[in-house]
């Protein structure tokens, strides 16, 4: 049983069997993480480079942990003080790293398509850890794993993604992955932050949380970034929180408990109220745990298939 491609660039077009395989494999790795010795040997002798052109502590840590627990050798590269700061192109950076015989590359970059570009330029397996607003496949995979753990199955599950959809790679990957697995997906946010023709992805669009809460099993709450406000995309954080923030009052009319998710880091009391983030239906911390297991599954499946 193996994945169809050599890379994990995104969930757009990924076959259902592949997503299923990754989620099922992650179950075994979650068990490994319960052991006193949280290490297994399948990627021994493999070298993995983490190329993070955008700063991100948690995703990078999660990948590093996953890589080391599979016994791989890890090198990390972040932009501060790097050759990129000295003007080296992505192509040259990648070629240099490959010349050092790296087997797999995990890349996070601010440009959409950066991981695709890299996969054309190097021989290593490429894993997209976030390319601009395009995709963040491992985040969506761990989100789906968490939902499946909590609700049993993704088929017919109703999930709403809340926030700045236009600029969110987490939103896109979740939409592609959840739709493939048979879930019903909707988005909710200010009209200025919902991209054009998103309904053509099979997604319902809402602008008020109150309209969604009676028909949804889970909310995936996205972080809102201040820079968007400065570009005229919404008036103020206060207005955002009052009308689009996920709070107990807005969820009052729900007929059953709603699972609360967030990719982190959380802006408490901006996009989500603190009591919900820490509440009994929040799976935010499980997402973090599951993140390591899911990333181990992805690295394992790609790493042994050469």
């Amino acid at each position: 049983m193996k994945l169809h491609g050599r890379h994990l660039l995104g969930l757009d077009g990924m076959p259902r069997e592949d997503i299923q395989l990754i989620l099922d494999t992650a179950v075994s790795f979650k068990e490994v993480l319960e052991r006193p010795i949280k290490k297994v040997p399948p990627l021994q002798g493999k070298t993995i480079a983490n190329m993070f052109f955008e700063s991100s502590t948690r995703t990078r840590l999660s990948f590093e942990l996953a890589e080391r627990r599979l016994s791989a050798d890890v090198v990390s590269f972040t932009t501060a003080g790097s050759s990129v700061a000295k003007g080296e192109t992505l192509k040259d950076t990648a070629r240099n790293i490959e010349a050092m015989k790296i087997d797999m590359v995990v890349i996070r970059h601010s440009a959409p398509g950066a991981a695709h570009f890299l996969s054309r330029v190097v021989n290593a397996n490429v894993i997209n850890a976030g390319d601009g607003s395009h995709e963040h496949p491992t985040q969506a995979l761990l989100d789906m794993f968490t939902l499946r753990e909590k609700h049993g199955s993704l088929d017919g599950l109703r999930v709403c993604i809340v926030g700045d959809i236009t600029h969110s790679r987490v939103a896109r990957s979740n939409i592609f992955g959840l739709k493939t697995m048979g879930a019903e997906v909707s988005v909710c946010g200010p009209a200025t932050l919902i991209p054009r023709e998103i309904e053509n992805l099979g997604v319902k669009v809402y602008h008020r949380l109150e309209d969604v809460v009676q028909d949804v099993d889970a909310l995936n709450v996205l972080r809102i970034q201040l820079e968007r406000q400065q570009r005229g995309l919404f008036p103020s954080l206060r207005e955002y929180h009052r009308y689009f923030g996920v709070t107990k009052e807005k969820l009052a009319r729900a007929t059953k408990p709603i699972t609360i998710m967030h990719p982190g880091p959380i802006n408490r009391d901006v996009e989500i109220s603190a009591d919900l983030a820490d509440g009994e239906h929040s799976v935010i911390l499980q997402q973090v745990t599951n993140g390591v297991a899911v990333r181990m599954a992805v690295l394992y499946l790609l790493g042994i298939s050469n």
Binding site: T89, K91, A111, G113, A114, F117, D131, G132, H134
Partner: protein, 429 residues
């Protein structure tokens, strides 16, 4: 030089001829024209059975990059590409360094054009409408016209200010030179790198909304309506909205014309999936509906001209992340092939209409004398094989840069030679 063009089909929109004619060309002039001219031992015979003899093609939107960006292209390599593509004339854009906002630069380019490729390609500079293309002050238009400029534009950038566009239209109307507008409201296109629509949503890419073009065309048409004798031409039109505005303006008999690039009647924004930067240009590739509107507009005459917007960039410049790559692709060497394959073959345009778009109309818009194909006149001709099937190989381009999305594409029809200024070139097969 003595050439006998035998058995070619002469298609000349100016005289209305569309039949087999032999031409004897001596020292750059058409000495004899008739049916079945007898062989002349001193003349080089060019067999053209099944081929077309047309008035020389002109590409009125080319970036020759010299002076200032010679690593991408030079006037010489650009002219070689023009010849390979079947063009006897090109108009070069002013976004050089220094830009063509001063007569010295305009003269330099014209002189250089005469000295390369044995002078077979006429190079007409299009000068900047504003100083430094900054959009703030008018450039010295009268001087530039005297130095050979045939039109004015800030292409690369739009003329954003309505006031400046008004003054440019007024001032240049004295000389009969058109103002060519790169129609884009740049306040709407902040950071955009592809058409804003379903594909850009799917790819998470910042988009260029189609209304950025149509809004600007509509605004400019309002100005043209207000200014007597204004001449206005929309560069590389790409949207239904922009085309509709031009069609309405023509209905009112305003002097509004426009051009389209071959990639805008061939590719859609779907081509961007996969992030190949050879699909990145401005205006961007649009939707299927826009491509249909372009073809309809070519058919009904709303679009007057096919011009390539030939924009060379080096491999290092293009092989980067999509959002960082410069806009533009080369086009001189694929224009005729794409036009015949995508327009003539499916009966969107007849071959006569195609020749109008590539020769007659652009010359008229730029007030260049029409090419007369008759005895005594100077020979300025493009030779075409309308049926040859060939595969585009960017490595064999004459252009210094190879940034084209059409590598490997099968095309039907090709320009096979040009005759101009007493010189003659047959393209490599």
């Amino acid at each position: 030089m003595k050439l006998l063009l035998k058995n070619g089909t002469l298609i000349d929109p100016v005289s209305g001829k569309d039949e087999m004619f032999d031409l004897l060309i001596v020292d750059g002039r058409i000495e004899k024209m008739g049916k079945s001219l007898s062989a002349d031992k001193a003349a080089q015979e060019i067999p053209l059975k099944g081929k077309i003899v047309a008035p020389g093609f002109i590409d009125m939107h080319v970036h020759l990059r010299e002076p200032g960006f010679e690593h991408k292209e030079t006037i010489e390599t650009g002219c070689r590409a023009a010849v390979a593509g079947g063009f006897t004339a090109v108009c070069c854009m002013p976004n050089t360094n220094p830009c063509i906002d001063d007569e010295s630069v305009a003269r330099y380019i014209q002189e250089k054009g005469k000295s390369v490729c044995e002078g077979i390609v006429d190079v007409y500079p299009i000068a900047a409408a504003t100083k430094g293309r900054q959009g703030a002050e008018l450039s010295p238009m009268a001087e530039l016209v005297d130095a050979g400029a045939v039109a004015f534009t800030d292409d690369g950038s739009p003329i954003m200010s309505a006031e400046i566009m008004r003054r440019a239209l007024e001032y240049s109307s004295m000389y009969g030179t058109p103002i060519i507008q790169h129609a884009e409201d740049s306040t709407l296109t902040h950071g955009g790198c592809m058409h804003e629509g379903f594909v850009s949503t799917r790819l998470g890419m910042p988009g260029i909304p189609p209304i950025a073009e149509s809004l600007m065309v509509e605004r400019d048409v309002t100005l043209v309506r207000y200014i007597p004798r204004a001449r206005y031409h929309v560069a590389h039109i790409s949207t239904r909205g922009g085309i509709a505005a031009v069609r309405a303006a023509k209905k009112e008999k305003l002097n509004v014309t426009c051009e389209v690039t071959p990639h805008h009647f061939t590719l859609t924004d779907e081509a961007v999936v996969g992030f190949d930067t050879n699909t990145k240009m401005n205006p961007p590739l649009r939707t299927r509906e826009d491509v249909e509107a372009v073809k309809e507009a070519l058919r009904d005459g709303t679009i007057d001209v096919i011009a390539t917007d030939h924009a060379p960039h080096t491999i290092d410049e293009k092989e980067v992340e999509y959002t960082l790559a410069p806009f533009g692709i080369v086009g001189l060497e694929t224009a005729v092939g794409l036009a015949i394959t995508e327009l003539v073959e499916p009966n969107v345009l007849s071959i006569v209409q195609l020749i109008e778009k590539l020769s007659t109309n652009p010359r008229r818009i730029l007030s260049l004398p029409p090419i007369q194909i008759k005895e005594g006149e100077r020979a300025n001709l493009t030779l075409i094989d309308p049926t040859v099937e060939w595969t585009v190989d960017t490595q064999r381009f004459q252009s210094k840069s190879k940034n084209s999305p059409f590598h490997g594409r099968r095309l039907k029809g090709k320009a096979i030679g040009v005759i101009n200024n007493g010189k003659f070139r047959l393209s490599q097969p």
